[in-house]
């Protein structure tokens, strides 16, 4: 698991500060990652849209693990629910501290091989 995380963060896409709307390719898949307002002191919204060759991937299991990159702190994992075809999301909680946060998005497509993408976000207070 640690090896997978190391690999994921090493290939992370840099995003932020401010609202995030980034597209990350993963083989035949593409992951559109959105985070608003991307402020440490406010709750927000996180969503992940998964497509495969341009078509929405429905019925996948999607979760996001978040951890501070600047300090040795804790982490948390958010399971996302499918809100519309191929788009998974939920409320994003207060993390309390500005700085660089790592996001590891794990996608397990129904009947397909699981994959993950990583983003390194600069979050303001």
């Amino acid at each position: 698991m640690i090896a997978a995380l190391v690999s994921a963060i090493a290939l992370a896409t840099s995003v932020g500060p401010g609202p995030v709307n980034a597209s990350v390719p993963a083989g035949a898949y593409s992951v559109a990652f959105r985070l608003t307002p991307n402020l440490a002191s406010r709750t927000g919204s996180i969503s992940v849209s998964v497509t495969r060759r341009g078509r929405p991937v429905t019925g996948a299991r999607v979760r996001v693990t978040v951890g501070m990159l600047d300090m040795q702190m804790g982490s948390f994992t958010l399971p996302l629910r499918e809100r519309s075809a191929g788009t998974y999301g939920r409320m994003f909680p207060v993390v309390g501290m500005s700085g660089r946060w790592g996001f590891r998005v794990e996608v397990a497509p129904r009947g397909g091989r699981a994959f993950q993408v990583a983003l390194a976000d600069r979050m303001l207070g």
Partner: protein
């Protein structure tokens, strides 16, 4: 090698947790009480392996039971404010500073629905060593079955 160490530290920051909880239950059938003291290094919060006293939540790794409603009261003896942020439980508790000899107090009512370990941290700038060491200004709320 430095890069490997940095990556390993980064990876250590990601302990995978599956979470689902509610911080404000509508109905509490059995209310358990838990008090967490917050003390600074000056008040001898907790001695670290470095031989120095550090800021600490006491206890820093409280144990709750899934589905059980608990009133958690934070009593802060420090002249500085602290906080407990546990995103996995959707908790963001601001703990007021002590005023003179009167500790700052705040209470929350929590019902964690799903068992697991939920990391928390103090997001208020305080003892930097304590903020980065489990058992001091960060820890886990352990929810058992």
């Amino acid at each position: 090698m430095k890069r490997l160490i940095a990556l390993a530290l980064t990876a250590a920051a990601f302990a995978a947790l599956a979470v689902s909880a509610s911080a404000t239950p509508k109905h509490a059938s059995t209310l358990r009480q838990l008090t967490i003291l917050v003390k600074s290094d000056d008040e001898h919060g907790k001695k670290g392996p470095d031989g120095k006293w550090h800021d600490a939540f006491l206890p820093a790794n409280p144990v709750l039971k899934a589905g059980q409603t608990t009133r958690i009261t934070f009593v802060n003896y420090d002249g500085g404010a602290h906080s407990l942020v546990a995103p996995g439980l959707n908790l963001n508790v601001q703990i007021p500073a002590a005023k003179g000899s009167v500790p700052g107090r705040v209470s929350i009512v929590l019902t964690a629905k799903k068992a697991g370990r939920y990391d928390w941290w103090c997001a208020s700038p305080c003892d930097t060593w304590a903020m980065t060491h489990n058992g001091y200004m960060r820890g886990s709320i352990v929810v058992g079955k």
